[in-house]
């Protein structure tokens, strides 16, 4: 389903929104110029179709899936897949491997092996033997030549970083082409570019992303950003059960199992949606160490414990109910 709307904020600033479903999530684009909304939506839809064809692990014909046939050999890939893998490797490198793109086999083994909408919510007990988790440093990428070598047996999952990277890329491209302010949200990974509206881009931060006109079910905060990106990682969505064990999609690369974190939701604002996503995902995995780590880096963040207590750090505004 697709929706388009115009939101009156003040007499001088109206924002224009279009939302639809793609790449297994909710896509939203907001622009400051009504005349550019249709063009902006079309550009974003094109970008996402290319992204899906390159990076999906749920399409047998995607470039990512085709890599399996050439495991262990240098393979020519598209610039889009090369960029997405570079973004994933940036995440791994800057978090000492906490955000690891090589957990594709582990997440498939746990049951998330198709578009999440069709993953059975309940299933029998799993007997999981993870003999070896290939390490991200074994991936060889020559981005300039678009050459990639993935070790035999390794399966990539770019889900942690690809959406955020794509949001950054599309927001910049659309803002430059259409000369207006642009917000791109891919499942809650948000990038903004161009001139921001007066008062900034108002965004509600919550456990599970949704319609901004529908109040959040849990704790939420209302903030405004003018540049860069915002990302939220949470264990409250994409959950399923196997044999009574609750699974979610953020895996700890040390074990190949869903991260057992003290945080259920972490939101981070950064210079890009990609870096915000890298930091928020790593924070879930790092647990107790996360708040100190984010504060040391000066990354404004909002962390929600499993019981719903909210901690804000590094300049993140105090909670304002929405």
């Amino acid at each position: 389903m697709s929706t388009t709307s115009t939101l009156r904020r003040t007499k001088s600033a109206r924002l224009h929104t279009s939302a639809w479903g793609a790449i297994g999530t909710t896509v939203r684009i907001v622009v400051t110029d009504a005349a550019q909304l249709d063009s902006a939506r079309a550009m974003l839809a094109d970008d996402l179709a290319i992204l899906d064809a390159a990076c999906s692990r749920f399409r047998p014909d995607s470039e990512l899936m085709q890599l399996r046939a050439n495991a262990g050999q240098p393979t020519t890939i598209s610039p889009v897949l090369a960029g997405a893998i570079r973004a994933a490797l940036r995440g791994a490198q800057l978090t000492d491997g906490d955000v690891d793109p090589t957990l594709g086999r582990a997440i498939e083994t746990l049951g998330y092996d198709r578009d999440f909408a069709t993953v059975p919510t309940h299933g029998g007990a799993l007997r999981v033997t993870i003999r070896h988790i290939p390490r991200w440093r074994q991936i060889e990428l020559d981005e300039a030549a678009c050459l990639l070598t993935v070790p035999v047996g390794m399966r990539l999952d770019l889900g942690a970083t690809a959406k955020a990277w794509a949001a950054d890329r599309s927001a910049e491209r659309i803002a430059e082409a259409l000369s207006c302010g642009v917000l791109v949200s891919l499942g809650g990974d948000i990038a903004v570019a161009g001139e921001a509206p007066r008062g900034g881009w108002s965004i509600r931060v919550q456990d599970v992303t949704g319609d901004p006109h529908t109040p959040s079910a849990g704790p939420s905060g209302l903030i405004a950003i003018t540049k860069g990106g915002l990302a939220t990682s949470s264990t409250t969505a994409r959950r399923w059960q196997r044999g009574g064990d609750i699974m979610h999609h953020i895996l700890d690369p040390r074990t190949g199992r869903p991260a057992d974190s003290i945080w259920r939701t972490v939101s981070v604002a950064a210079g890009s949606a990609l870096d915000a996503n890298i930091a928020s995902t790593a924070a879930i995995i790092r647990g107790h160490r996360a708040a100190g780590w984010l504060a040391k880096l000066g990354l404004p963040a909002r962390l929600v414990t499993v019981d719903g207590s909210v901690t804000t750090i590094a300049g993140w505004p105090a909670e304002v109910s929405s």
Binding site: P212, T235, D245, V320
Partner: protein, 99 residues
């Protein structure tokens, strides 16, 4: 730049911690298996993996022990910080959460 791998003693210590964790997990999973829950057996990446990883030249330019406890954690220093968000009193145009 390729730097030396983590000293063997540190790596062995970290590996021992990991093995202790595995033992606990395996024991717990075994007990759970009696009541029909998941039985989980895990093996950490081998030390051979770590040795091989230090020779990779394209994906990472330093080698760090992934099992460090973070006391001297300087990871993420190249993550770009941006303008801190401000409180907003305007209606939201988007939400950020899990999807």
């Amino acid at each position: 730049m390729i730097t030396s791998p983590t000293p063997g003693s540190d790596r062995q210590g970290a590996r021992n911690k990991g093995l202790a964790r595995i033992s606990a997990l395996t024991l717990g999973a075994g007990a759970a298996g009696l009541v029909g829950a998941a039985a989980i057996a895990l093996t950490l990446p081998s030390s051979t993996t770590a040795t091989n990883a230090s020779t990779a030249t394209t994906a990472g330019d330093t080698f760090t022990n992934p099992f460090t406890n973070g006391n001297d954690d300087d990871s993420g220093s190249q993550l770009q910080s941006g303008t801190p968000p401000a409180p907003s009193f305007l209606p939201p145009v988007a939400t950020s959460g899990a999807s």
